[in-house]
Symmetry: C2
Subunit: 115 residues, 2 copies
Amino acid sequence: MSPELLKGTLTPLILKLLLDRGRMYGYEITQQVKLISRERILLKEGTLYPALYKLLADGLITAEEETAGGRARRYYSLTQAGYTRASEQINLVNDFLDIMREMFTPQPRLGHADI
Amino acid sequence: MSPELLKGTLTPLILKLLLDRGRMYGYEITQQVKLISRERILLKEGTLYPALYKLLADGLITAEEETAGGRARRYYSLTQAGYTRASEQINLVNDFLDIMREMFTPQPRLGHADI
DNA sequence: TATTTATACTTAGTTTTGCTAATCATTAGA
DNA sequence: TCTAATGATTAGCAAAACTAAGTATAAATA
């Protein structure tokens, strides 16, 4: 597994959400993450938008503007390349999570005899 | 959950290893991580040692030098504060892993009816 | 009516993290 | 003798996510 995964779970998460839901706008993503994580992951706009712009620049997502209730929304969806990348990243993250789970499950303390 | 967790699983991992095993030296930690992760997480010395020095500076671990086979080893173990911190961090990481698992498990694609 | 809250996006600047890569030193093995 | 493995150190870099501020509109509320 590439060590970059120790950092960025954010980009895979964005790709995963777009994969599941097809089409989302920025603010919706922040709210969705907040909802799914039961308030425990609060994605700041200052974090999300630059990540989206990077995905755009990399050709992994596309944007289309729409107006809803007087406010402009920018909807993002996966490109073909983004779809492929999403699948790869999701597998990598799941592998990473499996390893982490193994590492973080309670272990009997060595040299400590209970009895 | 604090957003810092999106990054650093490394420090919690070090604390967890020390909690389980009581006492480890730097090189041993890199090899142990390599072993447990089945080669998938390759912790570089340039990554590990600065992290250890930070833990030392924060008073979460202590070091004692020993010589084994002509080579000096520096064994690290948790302080009382480190023990407390380890327990907290392990809980946070496990919460984080649970959320991530939820987010990364396959979801039915909305608007896609499979009969 | 005025103010606050929610919605929606943008961006400058900083910090943290982990990385690369090089160095030093010893021991074991080919 | 040369290389690989063990063991630690450190300088400098890049990426990631953060803080914090600003722009703008709509809805709710006092």
